[in-house]
Point group: C2
């Protein structure tokens, strides 16, 4: 147990009451609308929080990388979707090992190269690998471009040994709920016409989390940021300041000139992610102050030169623009409840890019 | 030993011949101009490379955080400058322990609060702590604002127990060599007039590395990026493509639409640092391709839709915009010489924000 005043800066502090409230609130929304919740662990990267998400009612979890899924399987999680095109001999070996360790492992694919690789790896496996076809419904990242292409790839998955076609997946553009509904409806109808059952339709994204029910074709929703929330979601009106569970705690180390304060949180703590926002985070209690610039170990706060809101040594909290990438910068986060700090949590899936 | 084809992507690969060439070239420049070289380890964060920098002729090293300095001291490095305002009971305890482990430990300070804290921690230490006054010569980060303020702080350091005033330090704005010369000359003259010897005048920064001799008042130069180099330095004309020792190796995982390729290096590998550049890195061999967007595990390459430079599964190399922050994303980097990969190097000082 650590007192607040003993915490070394910079660090990431997580309010457990707020986490629990966030998990419960969105689980209730999903339950109410009959949507299966499959949280993305990339936001916290901590097995205990994944277990808590499942305890609250989530169906399973989402990971982006095999390395993340391995960490979560080690903690006993046995229903995992990896939303990534997986290829290469070693990764496919690891995928097969993982599939045979957990109850359910599912992946996505958006092209024939990946599908053929998955099939080759699983052709002689006792249990087939479940595969969703990733669809580009407007985000402009991965995904087949049309419902027709989705059906073609679904048919290939269905035909190849070792694989089982299970449905569709998309990571939508913000504000793209209607596009998801349209693309999935068409693709599902075409799949069923081709004799391919399509039981899973997986969408996601925190920006439109409260609109998920407006795409009734969707059976499961993947969401990461909701556990902590961040400035990007505050600015979009998706959450309030008090819903932000992770703060970066930092200290003023210099007041070199009027209107400028230097803090010990730089891009190694807050990251350079702007997500279209002004400044590198929200200074709690100081809406008039902007986090104007970052170098690796320094943050530059800017404010009206006629005022002096800070003193050297003062601790301040910053709500980061994009909390998922902040989680990836710390080996540990400090957990607190009612300002009492428990043991820090090891961010076990940090840095798992493979 | 690993074959190139066996490397898992994404990863950071470092060409050792290129590293050695970079270290030698800049050491020769410093030797020629009588400047002591004190490399900043933040770029590589690897003790073996710090030892190599010293073996080539560097006087000592620079760190930003105590945690980095501790890692380097563990490897036997015994001349360390920490260019940071250090405060807080635990950090000061660690600083004192470290000071008594190594031959030379020096820090900087730009305000009275920090200086008084350092003095309190070292007042009864057998060996005084050497302190430089940090000066803001135009970068707008930390530092006293005028030569007069530098002298005032120098006098305080001189007067307080446990401390020894040793000189001046600045991190200049790019293109600010002349400002460094002017500020340091004035501050040094004023210090000497006040009876304060000022033997160390420490400047740094890779952008103006080849102009260091144009500020003859400077006795030592701190430089980090020169060991690896990066796209920001290529664009400034400070180095050529063949001087870039660290590449991010990545693989094309999807070709969803004309003019778009998706790679498995996102912001968890390349980071969102733009440093004023267009795009998130330089695709080796493909100057016509832009790294247009990043999410955490995906990079979006953009190119003329009438062409198709890539195929799925293809490996490509990217020179990052800002290589120091990329080093902080990987637990290991892959070392190679003549395309033969040796054991990966552990990035021991990664994530040391405390």
């Amino acid at each position: 147990m650590t007192e607040f005043a003993e915490l070394e800066t910079p660090c990431a502090i997580v309010d457990l009451d707020c986490v629990e409230r966030n998990l419960r609130n969105y689980q209730e929304y999903c339950d109410e609308h009959g949507i299966a919740l499959r949280p993305h662990i990339k936001t916290h990267k901590i097995p205990d929080f994944a277990l808590q998400q499942i305890a609250v009612g989530a169906k399973g979890i989402t990971c982006q990388k095999i390395g993340e899924a391995e960490v979560m399987a080690d903690a006993g999680i046995d229903d995992i979707l990896i939303t990534y095109n997986i290829m290469g001999e070693r990764k496919l070996e690891r995928l097969r090992t993982l599939a045979n360790r957990v109850n359910l492992l599912r992946v996505v694919a958006d092209n024939e190269f990946v599908v053929r690789g998955l099939s080759a790896a699983f052709a002689d496996n006792a249990k087939p690998l479940e595969v969703l076809v990733e669809c580009d419904t407007g985000a402009g990242r991965c995904g087949v471009q049309t419902p027709e292409d989705a059906v073609k790839l679904a048919a290939l998955i269905h035909d190849l040994p070792g694989l089982k076609f299970m449905g569709l997946m998309t990571y939508p553009v913000a504000g793209g709920t209607a596009q998801v509904e349209e693309f999935f409806r068409e693709a599902m109808a075409a799949c069923e016409k081709a004799g391919l059952e399509c039981p899973v339709r997986s969408s996601g994204g925190t920006p439109d989390m409260w609109q998920a029910h407006l795409a009734p074709v969707v059976t499961e929703y993947r969401i990461g940021t909701y556990i902590y929330n961040d400035k990007s979601l505050m600015e979009r009106g998706v959450c309030q300041e008090e819903d932000c569970a992770l703060h970066v705690l930092t200290q003023v180390v210099s007041l070199p000139a009027p209107g400028r304060a230097i803090i010990d949180a730089g891009s190694k703590a807050l990251t350079s992610d702007l997500l279209g926002l002004e400044g590198y985070g929200y200074v709690v209690g100081h809406p008039e102050v902007s986090v104007k610039g970052l170098s690796e170990e320094h943050g530059i706060l800017s404010f009206d030169a006629a005022t002096q809101p800070f003193e050297i040594g003062q601790r301040i909290r910053i709500i980061p623009n994009h909390v998922c990438v902040v989680s990836n910068m710390f080996d540990y986060v400090q957990l607190c409840r009612n300002d009492i700090f428990e043991n820090p949590a090891f961010v076990a899936a940090r840095g798992k890019v493979l």
